[in-house]
Amino acid sequence: MTDRTYSPVTNEILQELKAIVGERYVIAGDDDKLEPYSHDEVKGEQYAHMPECVVRPRKAEEIAEIMKLANREHVAVTPRGAGSGMSGGAVPIEGGIVLLMDRMNDIVELDKENMMITVEPGVVANDINEYLAEYDLFYAGYPMSLETCFIGGNVAENAGGGKAVKYGVTSRYVLGLEVVTPTGEIVELGGKLIKDVTGYNMIQLMVGSEGTLGVFTKIVLKLMPLPKSQVDLLCLFDSAEQAIECVPQIMTRSGIIPTAIEFMDRTAVRAACEYLNESIPYEQAGAMLLITVDGPSEEQVEHDYMQIGDQCMEAGASEVYVADNSTTSERVWKVRRNIGEAYNVISKRQCAEDIVVPPACIPAIVGKLGELSEKYDVMMPCFGHAGDGNLHARIVSPPEWSDEQWEPVAEKILNELYKFTAQCGGRISGEHGIGHKRKKYMSYFVSEGYLDMLRAVKRGMDPNNILNPGKIFDLQGKA
C-alpha cells in the first residue's frame, strides 16, 4: 500500500488530541521519542514504520473521542501495548496515531466469589499473577514474554504460550470486554458469565483480532485456583522422532494432561546449552522434551510426574531429570528460554516463525526443517510448544552473510516451509498473529471465501478503515 490514503496528522489535529488526553500525553515532532513506537519485537527495518504521533489515553471516553476525530479527519490509529509482539501488529504502517495503552494499567476489581478479575489493558500480564498470589488464585495465560507484555496485547493476539496444553489459550479466559469500536462507540461485550448465548459471540471475534476491530479498555478474566505444586521434567531422547512420538502417549497412556510440553531439537538444545555453558549431557541427546506438571498438592504432582516420567522412559527416553524447586526449575527452563538469545548472539539475521500444525504432524515438520536447513546451508533450530503443535522454528543466517545474500534465501525457505505447513493442514501462526509480517502468505493457508468473510466483518465495523489498517489481510479484494 504505497499510495497515501490517509490524511496527515496536522497541527490542528494534534491540538485536538492534546485537548482530549492532556498536552503531556501526546508525543509528536521528535523522531528520537517516536522511534521506539515504529517497531515491535520483529527484527528488520522493512517491518518498521514511524508514527506521526503517539497518544497515551487514560479512559475509554478519551479513546472514543480520538476514534471519532480520526474518522472525521481520516487518520489511521494503531493501538499498542508493550510492543512485545512478534508479527508487527502494533506497527503504524500507515503512519498516523499510535494509541499507547500504558497508562491504562489499573487492576479494577478482584471478584473472589466469582473467581474473576477485571483489569485495564495496560496491566503487565505477570503483574496479574503477582497480585493474585496472596489470594491463592491465578490467571492461566503464560506467554513467554509475560514479564513485559500487556494483557491487552495478549487478548488482541489471543496469546498462547507455555501452558496451553493444559490451560488453553487466552480466549478461554476472556469473559467480558469493554471495547471502543473503530467508529468511537463504547460497547460492553459479555460479562461475568460462564455461559452466554445472547447473539453472536462477539468476544471470540474480538479476541485475536489484532487491534483491527476495537480497542479494549476493560477485560474480565476468569481465574483458576493457584496450583500448590509444580515439577518440571527434562527428558532426553535419542532422536526428534522418538521425542515427538512420545508426546501424545504421555497424555493417552498416563491419563494426565501436563501443563506444558516443550520440544527442543538437537540444534536448539546445543546452541542454548553452549550459550549457557550448561553441563547436562546434551551432546548425546537428539532432542529434549521439557514437561511441566502442576496440581493442588505435592502428593498429586509427585504421582503425576512419576507416571509421565515412566511413560517417557518407556518411550525410549535415555534420561529423565526432575526439577522440583525453583533453582532446578530455573535451570531447566533456562535452556528453553535462551534458545532465542543464543541465536541472537550467533547471527543478527533471522526469521522467528510460529507455525502450528495438528500435533501429530510435528515429526514431519521437524524433518522438513532439517531438509531445508541442509539444502540452503542455514541453521534452523526448532523448538516450541510440542504439546499443542505450535513450533517456533528459527531460520538463522550464517553470521558471515550479508543482507543481500540472506534475504532471497530466507524468502525461498519461507515459501517452501509455508507450503509444506499448509499441506500438513497447518497454519502460519499459532500465537504470534499475522500482523503485516505474514500477511502475504495468508493465501497459502486460507481460501478467498474465508478472506472475504474477514473483509466483510472489517468493513462493517470499521467503514473508514481507521483502526490498525493494513494488518492480517488487504481490504481491497485480491490485492
Binding site: 549457557l276 555453558n277 548472539v345
Partner: protein, 333 residues
Amino acid sequence: MKASGIWILAEQKGGKIADVSFELLTRGIKLSEERGCELAAVILGKDLSDADLQELIDRGADRVICIEAEQLDHFLVEPYSNCLLELLGEERPEVLIAAATSTGRTLMPYLAIQANAGLTADCTELSIEKDTGNLLQTRPAIGGNIMATIKTPEHRPQMATVRPRSAPPATRHKGRSGPIERFKPSEGSLGSRVKRLSFLPDADEKPLGDAGVVVAVGKGIKKAENIAIVKELADALGGALGATREVVDRGWLSYPHQIGLSGQTISPKLYVGVGVSGTIQHLAGMQTSEVIVAINNDPEAQIFKIADFGVVGNLFDVVPAMVEKLKAGRGMV
C-alpha cells in the same frame, strides 16, 4: 579470669606482612582504647625481619609476638592452630581477631574449637560493650538482608574474623616503640598431616578480595569477547575485574572472579557494575562496597536501587567513552 588485652592476627606472604594486617590494627586500636588495654599483633612465619615487624608497632601495636619456624612459612591449619593454641593458653588474651581471608576463615574455626571459644565470622563492625567489657561483633547475614550483633559472654578469648577492606589500614607513626618477641614453638606443635606440594600464582590478574576498586561485569556484556572492554575500564581505574554468577556460569570468566552468594564477598572502596542487573545473590556479595556505581541500559535494573550513581545507557557506548575520559584525565584528577 585475668585477661591480657586485644590481639590481632597479622598475616604474611613470603615474609612480607600482608596489608590486611594493618586494617586489623585499625580495629585493634579502637578496641584497645575502648577497653583500656594493650594491643598485640601476633604473626606466624619464618625469617621475618625486625624492620617488617616494627611496622606493626609503627601502625599501632603495643607489642608484637612473632612465632617462627621453617614449617610456618606457609599457612597449614594444624601447625598454625597448635602454635596459637599454645600461646593462647599461656597468655589468655581477651580478644583475638583475624582477617576473613582464606587463611583466617580456615584457621579461626579450627582454633576456636580447640580453645573452646566463641567465634563470629566476617564481621563488619566491632566494639566493646561498656558495662561488661564484652566484644560486640556485628556481621551481615542472610545475604546481607539483616545485620546481627553477637557476643560471647562466658568464653575467652572472644574470637572474630573481620571482612577485608571494611576498615582503612592504620597509619604509620614513626617513633613508636614496643617489644618484638620472637618465639620458637615446640616441635610437637609443628607437625602437619597436610603437605603443600606446590603453588600456582595467578598470572597477571589482581585478586578480587584485596582490590580497592572492582569493576564487575554482568550478563549485559552478551559474549566473552566483549569482556575486553570492561577489562580496559578496570585497568583504567586500577582495579580488579569481577563478574556475576551468570558470566562465570557461561564460562566467560573464571570462578575466582565471581562475586555473590556462591562466589566472593567484597567491600572495595569503589564498585562499578557494568551490565549487571543486580540479582539478590549478587548484591549479597557487594552491597557493603563504599561507593557503588552502575552502567545498565535498563532503568528498572535492581542495581540502581543500591547504587550511588547510575548511567542508564548502552554499555558498549558508555564504557569506551569512560575509558577514554579516564585515560585523558589521568594525572589531572
